[in-house]
Point group: C2
Chain length 490, copies 2
Amino acid sequence: MRLQLRRLCSAPARLSVHTINQAVRTAQYAVRGELILRAAKLQEELRAGGGGGKGFDRLVECNIGNPQALRQQPLSFNRQVLAILAMPALLQNPALRTSFGADAIARAEEYLRSIPAGVGAYSESQGFRLVRQQVADFIAARDGVPAQRDDIFLTDGASKAVEFIFKILLRGASDGVLVPIPQYPLYSATLALASAQMLGYELDEANGWAMPLDELEKKHAAAVAAGVTPRALVVINPGNPTGNTLPRDNMEAVVRFCSKHHLVLMADEVYQENIYDDALPFHSFKKVLKQMTPEPPLQLVSFHSTSKGFLGECGLRGGYMELCGFDPEVQAQLLKLVSIGLCSNTMGQIGLGLMVQPPKPGDASYATYAAEKDGILQSLKRRATKLVSALNELEGVTCNQPQGAMYAFPSITLPPKAVAAAEAAGKVPDTFYALALLEATGIVVVPGSGFGQKENTWHFRTTFLPPEDEMEAVVGRMTAFHRDFMQQYS
Amino acid sequence: MRLQLRRLCSAPARLSVHTINQAVRTAQYAVRGELILRAAKLQEELRAGGGGGKGFDRLVECNIGNPQALRQQPLSFNRQVLAILAMPALLQNPALRTSFGADAIARAEEYLRSIPAGVGAYSESQGFRLVRQQVADFIAARDGVPAQRDDIFLTDGASKAVEFIFKILLRGASDGVLVPIPQYPLYSATLALASAQMLGYELDEANGWAMPLDELEKKHAAAVAAGVTPRALVVINPGNPTGNTLPRDNMEAVVRFCSKHHLVLMADEVYQENIYDDALPFHSFKKVLKQMTPEPPLQLVSFHSTSKGFLGECGLRGGYMELCGFDPEVQAQLLKLVSIGLCSNTMGQIGLGLMVQPPKPGDASYATYAAEKDGILQSLKRRATKLVSALNELEGVTCNQPQGAMYAFPSITLPPKAVAAAEAAGKVPDTFYALALLEATGIVVVPGSGFGQKENTWHFRTTFLPPEDEMEAVVGRMTAFHRDFMQQYS
């Protein structure tokens, strides 16, 4: 009895989900959420040979923008340089001179001259100087506007950069950030972890997912009225999961809005190379800002990454942010914050340098590089078109044609019986649909509820990354599943 | 007038150091703090050729455990495997294959079989399965106690793992963590960022930096009395900056203390390979815990890294943590938290796998690997001895002989005139001393105040990483400086 009592008293002190930081419990991250846990289990079953009755022998992971997991090949030039950086002794092997591009060797040597300690030492916390200069040169050439090495911070992917900015900005539960709905759930999750307020603004699906400027003003005013201080506005352009590309006048209006309300504009521009509509080229927010007259005062951060574009170097975790219009003291605080984690990984930093300074016409690797790049981008465009055309053929499904990024975000009108069945199963209807799709086809998508969506609408996000020779089959299985599903619940 | 008024009103809304998250301002990180900023400026002057009158032409960076920045060479086997992972096409070239050991090729092929997408795709959020299994096998062999792949989380260096655990544990300003004084400032900085309480316990310098068990109890009781909930205890073993190695009975007492008070034991064991005193071998807290009878109930996390040991692969940002005794639900929350950042960098993960599963006797690379490893460790031991002997010769300086890690942390008795001069200059006395050392010699050390120290004692932390052929000169310059400094202020 006494022992039992002691146990009862001491038990609650042991760490449990009830005594951890509850902000962690609150945070949701659908890209790797419930559906993905089920997919992982299914993967185990398939590996163990239990896929016999399933009609598919492996999963097709359309849940995450992870191109090389779906057989996209890395660019030869970039990997040649990385191999030399990993092992400078390769330069001593004469055979290297015949099998590597002369420009790849020269580039590796340039990095090694600038970084004599190589990739095995910590870099400056902000990132290698040479790579930051390469990024600044890239931005200046892209925008026709000067860029400074010291305004660039190299990070372990763009996610980490977003975390740093939120850490600097968010002081507690009465701070908020305007985030698009639907959004990439990094934003909602990081806000939840900071116990800050997500101020969602709904993109206009009927109007190609345009920025809803009236709604922005309304959301802002409502937040202020509720005692919340909006600190920043997140824009994802090209859009994730929406695949839209913002027109320039829309961007100017966003700049004016942020400037007026003293909001930091967080421009997630990681899909800037994934552009499929010639009529809607990518413009950086920095260029748009700098070309406005008069230039509105604004604090702008732009994020970019090696993970997307045509590189798809997700595993390297290379990313950067460029700060624009920030006080030097704030920038110094950011540098201190970054330095607590010492530095971002050096191979990712080099990977980023290679991304922003590719081979130029006349260089030994140029022709191969250009062919690899064009092959990937044109194939992505074809796959996007094929997938979205097929989706739009499905009963109750409509999908905007992606103008950029690597996702389609179709809207599905689910029959009332399906909604009821979902409720009976204790699932959000779009999760119910996505789980059924997974079980029937092995195709992994993410339910729209993971990104946020207008009330009583249902979506899912799928990449168009499956290899071209599998796309037909993927589309076929998706189509057959949808037909059966609609029949079952009609 | 009206315009001016408007400006005055709107100006404060612009982001400034006064309106950022003040926890960021509060956080200090001395390893890259004031002294380092001055060192960076000095570096610029030297680069620009302004070192003429200084008596040195470059800096000696003893401020950070960054071995490859001081010419330590990476291990050949490890870099061979990394190069192949960066560029699997290397294996297709017979002439290039000759640059690699057969076991390095076999290891690379093993990784590529297990990870067909290669290093360019995101891994599982927790890290590659194969590498986690390799870590588990390493731990099991080291401790003679089973270890599970699913209890291992691969992270971008150990720092990131510490951040994840703090994020899970710390709920706000009334949570605290017991941290040694002196400590590695990652802990104080991360606690400050979380607005949580650092509960410092002073290690016993006179007793070889032993764990002060009475003081632990007192600190714990005082915290509870003050309304603070202690959540965890940090132990750094071997010690940073202290260089001590804990004896086993001391560790058992720490385990009992944590178990009794339901504290998560955070065992920073990143220096486990850096052991210089045969009488004090490294024991992991997990082994000590598991061999106690009865085994006290405990939640234990152990951290390890590619950055230290004899690898010194700081730039790769490879690390892991092993959880022991945690509820599965808590572990699931941790996995979700980790997944928000997608995954740690893949080259760092592979680097970690190579660290924990080195070539074995009989393998093609074994002899080279063993020679490289022994060369580095024995040289470190010689350099430690040389540096610490010299330090102990200096007037007013005493320094414990390092038993582990890569740092010496001498105590300096500063003359009252030096303390007064420091105060007049608005500097903490040990910062004043370290700045003077930097200006006179180019040697960069970190003032003891950056790590915490007993009141009215002064220290600095220096690595013993300068190359062996420079150590004599470094010690000579340090000695001459100290003599002059003491003379000046006597």
